[in-house]
């Protein structure tokens, strides 16, 4: 029914689009399942424009399209470390901050963190942020490992002793080398931001030692599998694990999913809104970014996708269940152990990816 309504709306929009050729069009390219249901409709209504909203599910896909050029996108949402490289390639235009009064709503501390990837937040503002931690099936883990299972530690996936016991139940890792290798290095007591080849190799060795017990490496499949109880442990992105949790609750299948930022620390990442240099409609793009930074709009999105935002003004409007969840908004203590992704040069990229292939395939 919903689809029908949306389709009818789309047809109506298309029809009016034909009627008024002057109508402004905004092209947004964002992650899948990453916006509140009504955000786009509200923007269209308020500004009298039409929005083409398209989605992707990996930074690599976004980047390949951006590098190919002439994408026609006005607003894209890359993750911080990808953003930094892309800024280096001259893909983004500087933001005109005079058109972004809602910047005042933003959390100064988090924006400063994001500025590590984009000096003075020149090109982008934070959309949502999150961590790369562990999602697990609480019931199954307790059943297999007992009550004192190390659910607060990376040893759940990096200790062969423990992983081997969980293999039958199903363990998955993200197919994201720049997140998995640093996590392994961190577990070994190495600097997760190191670009030393030896450190990468040590991380890869650790991952190879657990590989026989890993069911698969994938960056979205785990949502469904965790929710269905097909797998028990997944390294995943905070919001995605919460999505799995919500699905399981909705299905009332007795599966209880929890998300943890392990005590050893975790990767903190920022998804950033930016405007490509060749955006057809940069003015409207600024208006959209400013619109999203509205306290209520951002709160709506967080309430829907269960990812943390960096909008201080929105906090009172966010569901307390979310703000109080340390998996989404970590405690100060946990925050201290988060690290940001290092941006690699292309040689390091190749080393990381080659080691990753070795981890996955044994080749």
């Amino acid at each position: 029914m919903k689809t029908t309504v949306t389709m009818t709306a789309a047809i109506l929009v298309a029809a009016t689009g034909v009627a008024s050729a002057q109508e402004r069009v905004l092209n947004v390219y964002n992650w899948s399942d990453y916006i509140a249901e009504d955000t786009i409709a509200k923007f269209e209504e308020q500004f009298g424009v039409k929005v083409n909203y398209d989605v992707y599910d990996s930074n690599e896909v976004l980047e390949a399209r951006l590098f190919a050029g002439n994408t026609g996108f006005d607003v894209v949402v890359p993750t911080s470390d990808f953003l930094r490289r892309q800024i280096g390639a001259g893909i983004y235009q500087p933001l005109d901050k005079s058109k972004l009064p809602n910047l005042a709503n933003m959390d100064a501390g988090l924006m400063a963190n994001a500025a590590a990837y984009d000096a003075d937040n020149t090109h982008a503002v934070v959309y949502m942020w999150g961590t790369t931690g562990i999602g697990y099936n609480a019931g199954k883990i307790a059943e297999i490992l007992g009550q004192d299972a190390p659910t607060d530690s990376w040893s759940l996936v990096f200790d062969p002793e423990i992983v081997s016991q969980l293999a039958e139940c199903g363990v998955s890792l993200l197919d994201a080398p720049t997140e998995m290798l640093p996590a392994a290095m961190n577990y070994l007591g190495l600097d997760p931001r190191s670009t030393d080849r030896a450190d990468f190799e040590a991380g890869a060795e650790l991952l190879e030692s657990v590989r026989p017990h890993i069911r698969y490496f994938h960056s979205s499949q785990y949502i469904t599998d965790l929710a269905n109880g097909d797998t028990c442990v997944a390294v995943g992105w905070s919001g995605d694990v919460f999505q799995a949790q919500a699905r399981a609750a909705e299905a009332e299948n007795g599966v209880e999913i929890a998300y943890v930022i392990p005590k050893e620390g975790a990767l903190q990442w920022f998804d950033m809104m930016a405007i490509p240099v060749d955006a057809p409609n940069p003015d409207l793009a600024h208006e959209f970014i400013n619109f999203v930074m509205d306290a209520q709009i951002t709160a709506d999105i967080t309430n829907y996708v269960w990812y943390a935002n960096a909008n201080a003004a929105s906090m009172p409007l966010v569901d307390p269940e979310i703000t109080s969840d340390p998996g989404i908004f970590p405690t100060e203590e946990a925050k201290a152990r988060l690290w940001g992704a290092e941006v690699y040069d292309s040689r390091t990229d190749r080393i990381v990816n080659r080691l990753w292939t070795q981890v996955k395939t044994g080749q």
Partner: protein, 317 residues
């Protein structure tokens, strides 16, 4: 007899005998013919040769930060193109076993899946070809019908069947045949099954079209000359359906070698296919030149054996 012999050059005199056919008609006729013959060539040129050339040129460049993310193989030097690319990317491919292993792995999986496809499709095609004409159309329809839905949709449907808590495992456990779910996803089995499932119509249709044309009296002749049904099949039906087998195998094998969606979604991690490696080069490493070199090398490794095969079979006939 006499007047029949007087007009030996039929077509030429025909044109002369039709005063209504003007010079322009004749020219446009020739042009039309050329267009008809030229269209497939044009199609090939635009959609195969030109992209192939572009990919080849990219493979000679080096990765760069920028749009596009590679350096060109040629520079314009005062209006004259100067070659500045290199074949380093191809040399690089030979230095890392990964590419060779992935290529062999892809060929192995594609060959295995093609063979399985053939084994499943042949009896199907045979039965359809032997069915009553009315029934035949219904059966053909059933084979083609899945083709009308997105292959991704069909792959996800299979995932629903194969996963731990999926239909097959639930049924097996419900019936008490197994105690614990069988691991089917992320195995080579799942990849083979999905490729066979996805590409089956491509195998059935050419097989059907050759089997349907098979002269029934040849089978009777074989039986009459003392062949049992197996001998008839082995000595007559099978050799005469070879063109269909070859066409079907090519139609399945070629796309299966380059397949990357199926191994990505269903496959075990330790058997990467060349398509996944290529995808990784393109996205993760942002190395378009190496990705292009992988693509060109894959094409060359696929095409050359087939050209050799074609030549030997041409020699034999």
């Amino acid at each position: 007899m006499a007047h029949a012999a007087a007009r030996p050059k039929g077509s030429v005199s025909d044109v002369r005998e039709h005063p209504s056919m003007t010079m322009r008609d004749r020219i446009s006729g020739a042009l039309g013919r050329r267009l008809v013959i030229g269209t497939p060539f044009l199609w090939l040129l635009i959609f195969f040769l030109v992209p192939f050339g572009i990919v080849f040129l990219v493979s000679l460049g080096a990765p760069e930060f920028g749009v596009p993310p590679y350096s060109p193989a040629f520079e314009w030097d005062g209006g004259v193109p100067r070659f500045v690319g290199s074949f380093d990317n191809y040399i690089f491919l030979t230095e890392d076993d990964l590419y060779w292993i992935a290529y062999l792995g892809s060929v192995k999986i594609a060959l295995g899946a093609t063979l399985l496809c053939l084994l499943v499709a042949y009896p199907m095609a045979y039965m359809i070809a032997r069915a009553e004409p009315g029934m035949r159309n219904i059966l053909l329809m059933l084979v083609i019908l899945p083709f009308w839905t997105s292959s991704l949709l069909r792959i996800y449907a299979l995932m629903g069947m194969l996963r731990q808590g999926g239909f097959i495992n639930s049924a097996l456990m419900g019936l008490g045949i197994t105690d614990a779910p069988i691991q089917m996803m992320q195995t080579d089995f799942a990849v083979y099954l999905t490729i066979v499932f996805t590409y089956l119509p491509l195998m059935v249709l050419p097989l059907y079209s050759t089997l349907e044309k098979l002269d029934g009296s040849l089978l009777e002749a074989a039986a009459d000359l003392g062949a049992n049904s197996f001998q008839t099949f082995w000595t007559v039906t099978l050799p005469l359906s070879l063109p269909g087998i070859l066409a079907g195998c090519l139609l399945v094998f070629i796309p299966a070698v380059g397949e990357f969606v199926i191994p990505d979604l269903m496959g075990a991690q330790d058997s990467p296919m060349i398509g996944n490696v290529l995808w990784g080069e393109f996205t993760r490493n942002r190395d378009w030149p190496v990705a292009s070199a992988v693509a060109i090398a894959m094409l060359a490794l696929l095409v050359i054996p087939f050209m050799l095969l074609r030549n030997t079979s041409a020699l034999r006939d």
